[in-house]
Amino acid sequence: MPVGSALRAAIAGFLATLVVADGAAAASVTVDRARVNARLGDTFVFRTEIANDASTPTPALIAHLNILSLRDGVYVDPEDWSSRRTWYLGKLRAGDNRSIAWSVKAINGGSYAAYVAVLPQNRPVRPPEMSPTVRIDVENRATLDAGGILPLAVGVPALLALLGGGVRLARTRR
């Protein structure tokens, strides 16, 4: 079996289905991957598909992305991770579906979980349905060691200033 087909089959095998029920209408929520490995600062995209498998339309739906740390003591502000976390989908006709691409930037190193909540717009008192969790592992990257920057930052301009002063002095004496 080709690698691409195997990968697709594995992803398809993973896809989980949840139901946002509203009377006779129902919508299923799937995600296209279970895990993302990223480096600090990377931007990646994962997709959810919200499909109406029922024979009647769904109510107007809202999809909302949330991100949390799987380790205690790590602060996560989801707004920093994704600039657009809420999509107003409207109603889905019978058999219709909507695909949403969630663009996420890895802000901190560590292990995180992302999930999408889908809830009806007009009946928010109902508990939202959650998508399967996408685990995000962010590899820390080395940032610059500041040691030694001050002598360089001061030294080069100072050297040029001395050079300029020397040239001016030589021209004045001449």
Binding site: G41, A142, L144, A146, V156, P157, L160, L163, G164
Partner: protein, 266 residues
Amino acid sequence: MSSDARAERHGSAAWTVVGAQEVRDLWLGGSALLLALAFSLLLSIMSYLAATNTELNFLEQRESVSLLAQVSIGAGSLLALLAAADSFSGERERGTLESLLLTPASRLQLTVGKLLGALSLWVAAFAISIPYILFLGRGVGVAGDALAVGFLLGSLLAIFLASLGQIISIFAASNRVSLTLSLFLLLALFAPTQLPASAEQGWAGELLFRLNPVTAAERYVGRVIMQGEAGSQDAAWLVSPIVAAAVFAVVALFVGARFLRLRAGG
């Protein structure tokens, strides 16, 4: 032996005499050293912030190197543009263009010499940026790539912008007009670099970024430094800077040879 006499004896090399004299004028008597000092202060501030500021230090080391290389190229080619924009309109304004035109050097040779003088600012700017890039790139193996691609793209942009400035300077009646128009065009060329990344999506956005030599050079430098290698797809970003440098240099030499003359008032 005066420059003019040397030029007369070695007519074919008169452009080297003009170029050498221009470099001397710029670096010993002109503002080049002051501009170089300002350039080094800019790089010092950028490097210090990249290394110590919490927000900027969040950048991965490759990103810091890429940022500094792009600033070096942008500011360095700006220096070349400023010198070129002053080349003939400055002589005209100072009333020295007539004596320059009376030397045995042809107008083409004068244009070549002036262009080389202006490009000396870019060469100096690149030399100044070397220790900063080596410092920021230490330990991640990108300093060599950053210096190589920085020198290549910076030289192409410097030739393009200096030629543009010189063309304007040849026709401008005053230095003020020449510098204002040159800086306006430079800002127009750099403006797309401030657009969000999403502006590059779609055929029109990508075409604009690829056609503009400044944005194309910026993208190429960023990609090579961040990815660590230049792929064949990335090489397409080189087309615009190469074409712009070649075309504008030829046009500047042609315009200088054909249209450089005294005007009313100088």
